[in-house]
């Protein structure tokens, strides 16, 4: 973009982009005519408009400092209504914290999103504990619960997620991690993740997931629908053979439901999709009718039995 002609086209593209930000802009035929003048115009416009889109990530400095330290409870209706984008995006500023590590803890049924200094983002489901380390900006520890990681790739500086004994090393990517009581599940929606690079060194591609037992061993690899990975962010939990025990744990984390599971149904496989809503009884009814089990209302929560 050094010669005069090119920069003139760039100026024109900037002009169009600025004018189009006005919701009342209606000169689309003129814009078409401009694009038609040269095939380069569309390419230059794409570059400019894409740059403008990236500026969405700019924020006023005051907003970054305002990251709340205590968990913020969002009503379930808010986030199911598709308002995830409007949800709190807490930019954790490490200088605000005394110690070198930052602990982020969410209550059951509460979701948060955290922006890291390198542009990576972690969406955190309810009932989850994550630790970040000031001295290791490309590292996160999932103590318990579930999170979706959107990692900005940096050559030679991979992002590492530690979950118990397992280490997940991103190769530039989005992936969902659940650390349950007995199992660890990783599902990759974009890019590539290495599982325990210094041991199994299993590469998980987009569209695949693994399930590893708490005691280690080679994990099972399964195909996953990339579109449904991290469905909890939209309140959708989709299963194809997970145990009732796992489903109950997920509902506790995602919806804040307190569900006990009797041993005779704990291992039953569950297939189906649940939509988390404010109507807790309805979520339970859907689960029991799909699974062919019963739920007993208790003083606090429910008990699933045959």
């Amino acid at each position: 973009m050094s010669d005069g002609m090119a920069s003139q086209v760039e100026e024109q593209a900037i002009d169009w982009m600025i004018r189009q930000r006005d919701p009342a802009f209606d000169e689309w035929q003129d814009f078409t005519a401009w694009l038609d003048l040269s095939p380069d115009h569309a390419a230059v416009y794409d570059r400019i408009a894409s740059l403008d889109t990236d500026l969405e990530h700019l924020s006023a400095p005051a907003e970054e400092i305002a990251a709340p330290r205590s968990p913020l409870l969002a009503s379930r209706r808010t986030w199911i209504g598709g308002a995830m984008a409007a949800m709190l995006v807490g930019a954790i500023s490490f200088s605000l914290f005394g110690s070198d590590s930052t602990r982020i803890e969410t209550n059951a049924g509460e979701q948060r999103s955290v922006a890291l200094a390198d542009g990576s983002r972690i969406e955190i489901n309810g009932g989850t504990v994550i630790e970040l380390d000031k001295d290791r900006p490309r590292f996160a520890r999932l103590e318990s619960g579930e999170a979706m990681f959107h990692v900005i790739h940096r050559a030679g500086d991979p992002f590492t997620v530690e979950a118990g004994e397992a280490r997940l090393v991103d190769l530039g990517t989005s992936f969902n991690v659940v650390r349950r009581r007995r199992t660890l599940n990783v599902a990759v929606s974009e890019g590539l993740v290495a599982y325990n690079p210094e041991r199994e060194n299993l590469h998980i591609k987009a569209g695949y997931g693994i399930e590893a037992g708490a005691e280690g061993g080679r994990p099972k690899v399964q195909a996953v629908d990339p579109l449904s990975i991290g469905g909890w962010r939209k309140g959708q939990l989709v299963y194809n053979g997970a145990s009732i025990e796992q489903v109950a744990e997920d509902l506790g984390r995602t919806a804040g439901l307190s569900i006990a599971v009797s041993p005779d149904v704990a291992a039953l496989p569950f297939r189906g999709a649940l939509l988390v809503s404010d109507d807790k009884q309805r979520v339970i009814d859907d689960l029991t009718s799909l699974a062919g089990i019963r739920a007993e209302k208790q003083t606090e929560g429910w008990l699933l039995t045959r």
Binding site: M1, E11, I14, M17, I18, R21, D22, F25, W28, Q29, F31, L35, A42, D46, I48, S50, L51, D52, D54, L55, L58, A60, G81, G82, A85, D118, G119, I152, R154, A155, L171, G172, S174, V178, A187, E190, G191, L192, H203, K205, A206, G209, Q222, A223, V224, D225, L227, S228, W232, K234, V238, Y239, N240, G241, A242, D250, R271, G272, A273, L290
Partner: protein, 214 residues
């Protein structure tokens, strides 16, 4: 939770997000649902009336014009395919009455082309970084940032260096979404000054982006 491919039953479908400004926030995640719908679309369209039906009618009535726009906007020979995708998006979105339906459709088409460009860019960036990356599986979300946090800091720096007024005008425009007229009133300058400031900031950012990309 591991979400498996294959047989799944959807009990309900989450409330569809409204298409603000002709943009479909959840486009990638809703694709699946739409695919099924588009097959039966013609029958459904006959039965339905109201806002959704109206916008589809406008889409079809202006098909040639929109196809020409998509072609010069960068779709070329694939304009028909993109038009189809636009149609599926429109059919699947629930919107209230739209004052300027044709403008709305142009904007949606323009955003769709930008999403395609950004997806291709994201895939290219990953591919450069990792030769072993399996391109066919790429499903980059359009919301993904193509710019890192550090680069954003350089962007901030560049804006600030253009002077207080220009930086303030730009922030009002881009971050607060104010109209140029309102910005002129707030800063107590003329409309043409605001215009010139915005052009200046964007031109500087385009130069910076050129340097970063090299």
């Amino acid at each position: 939770m591991l979400l498996l491919h294959g047989e799944t039953r959807l009990l309900y479908i989450a409330p569809a997000e409204g298409a603000r400004d002709g943009r479909f926030p959840n486009r990638s995640s809703q694709k699946k649902k739409h695919r099924g719908r588009s097959d039966q679309f013609m029958n459904r369209a006959d039965r339905e009336s109201g806002a959704a039906r109206g916008i589809e009618a406008v889409l079809l009535a202006n098909r040639d014009e929109l196809l020409r726009f998509l072609a010069v906007r960068g779709a070329g020979d694939a304009a028909e395919d993109v038009f189809q995708e636009l149609w599926v998006n429109i059919a699947g979105s629930s919107t209230g009455p739209i004052a300027q339906p044709l403008s709305y459709l142009y904007r949606a088409a323009n955003n769709l082309m930008l999403d395609r460009y950004r997806s291709a860019q994201a895939a290219r960036m990953r591919e450069q970084a990792w030769g072993e990356y399996d391109r066919d599986r790429a499903d980059p979300s359009a919301e993904q940032s193509l710019i890192s946090r550090e680069e954003l800091a350089r962007v901030d720096d560049t804006i600030n260096r253009l002077g207080e007024r220009a930086a303030a005008a730009f922030r009002c425009f881009r971050l607060e979404g104010m109209s140029q007229r309102d910005i002129a009133a707030r800063l107590g300058v003329s409309l043409s000054t605001v215009e010139a400031d915005l052009r200046k900031v964007y031109a500087a950012l385009a130069r910076l982006k050129g340097q970063i990309d090299e």
